[in-house]
Symmetry: C2
Amino acid sequence: MRIVLDAMGGDYGPEVTVPGGIQAANDYGINIIFTGDADRIRKELQKYDYPKEHVEVIHCSEEINNKDQPVAAIRRKKDSSMVVGLNLVKEKKADAIISAGNTGALLAGGLFILGRIKGIDRPALAPVYPTTKGVSILIDGGANADCKPRNFLEFGIMGNIYASKVLNIKSPKICIANIGTEEGKGNDITKEAYKLCKDAKFNFAGNVEARDIPSGYADVIITDGFTGNIILKLTEGIAGTIFSELKNEFTKNTLRKLAAAILKTGLKDFKTKFDYTEYGGAPFLGVQGNLIKAHGSSDAKAIKNAIRQATNFVKNNVVEEISKEIFRLGED
Amino acid sequence: MRIVLDAMGGDYGPEVTVPGGIQAANDYGINIIFTGDADRIRKELQKYDYPKEHVEVIHCSEEINNKDQPVAAIRRKKDSSMVVGLNLVKEKKADAIISAGNTGALLAGGLFILGRIKGIDRPALAPVYPTTKGVSILIDGGANADCKPRNFLEFGIMGNIYASKVLNIKSPKICIANIGTEEGKGNDITKEAYKLCKDAKFNFAGNVEARDIPSGYADVIITDGFTGNIILKLTEGIAGTIFSELKNEFTKNTLRKLAAAILKTGLKDFKTKFDYTEYGGAPFLGVQGNLIKAHGSSDAKAIKNAIRQATNFVKNNVVEEISKEIFRLGED
């Protein structure tokens, strides 16, 4: 298996992507192709022991950064680590690509270079959402701010394959994120989407209220990209706020500090459980290739986890499975 | 000042609304009119000391419950505590009404009985959202699942009056809840709403990402009722999940239990800070009268706080201020 890693992507570049990629090459016995500034990549590589026959470096003279306008960057920066990497997947020279770079550019690149799976109108980001029960899949996490009801059905089909094939959840419970549980609740789009999903072949379990998302009521939460992004970022914001406020309370005096020290392991276990970087990145489902968006602030471990996740997508033929399911839908 | 309290509303009815109302009558020197089952109300009243000249009971033979279909209930149950109460406000026999009853029915009643303020297309719920800095106002909290860009402008005008007149925030910072900060980010509605709000007379501060809502970046968050409701309920869900998970971690062994006991006050202070019932209920802004929706699970203190909030709406002529502002907008 050959996985491309955009070595220049993310807040830290090769300093983080290189050790992440090498750990994955070591642990999973796969080939890693680094795309990017060869000098910087090699400089990092020298610091580690790694199986040389499993690591390749492809030099790229350009780099897409977070300030670049996504579509223009993909069109113009032909020799960027991201575009070169995507082309490797397109040309079947690699089985998957991981990038922690400019999200908009990566999605645009996925659409323009890899292309849509036939029958999929809107490819979507599908990050994991850690819950008290384990993880849910949220789709769309932000690729499509405006959606049509039909897109919810596609999200359900793709989320179902991800949850069942990659996460091994048996008959995943698929719900629409909504403002009430009963059919007929919601805005115009979710009401129409409900009707379409009722007849779908996946295990549609109706609406999930936002209140019940953190407890893991749904295995797959389908939603438009605007709402999905609000859900993800609000979760981040609230968790961050609660922890910093608790920290304030827990350090107000020496006694409290002592008590908090005792609870440190508990707090750490808790944080680990809800740390989404443990689970890898967000696949961009619906394009003709395995594409994983890793978080911009990924550390080496998060990069390694995203690579592990990519290998699962490859092994389980997720792209092919989506093609088959969406084709079957067209036949009905 | 005369405030109507729908005595039958909420999960507990007169057992909670009566002590809440009496405390308010005692503390704020206002008149409370209880509407509902007179026998049950009098039975509760007997338990307390209260200024008899400030308390009135109006018997109603009907009650709207949470299972009632909102519009049908308002049309048919003419002698319900909610409809009778709303009519008292309409006929200027009372200055405001508070109900913890069926939200849909109360909003429908607000629209049909009190009517819209001229120029307001969509009255909206405006709950407070506790933040690390204090509170923000979220508008719309769920009255209008589908909105037009123009509605965002109305929400901004009404939220501005609420925040400045009632909460005494000087030149409140008003933002659109969105998935990016720059102009041009978002879905079709938020993009159009941004253009309208740019020219508004309130202090429009652009978009706020969901991540920055809990830290109080915006004083007033304007959003469609679908997104607003997702934000409110997700916040509830995440906070609940985090606390129950922390409790699990903090009670795993005796040492941790001891440590957690020391931190109890800290945890309590924290919880109080983020307890929205401290701040009253959610006003339904844009109707011709002061209408406050209290949370269904309100206890007596929450009811009392909602009454205090209602007195502030009356004192500050919020309905009149909104009428003036929206009229001025039409003149431009």
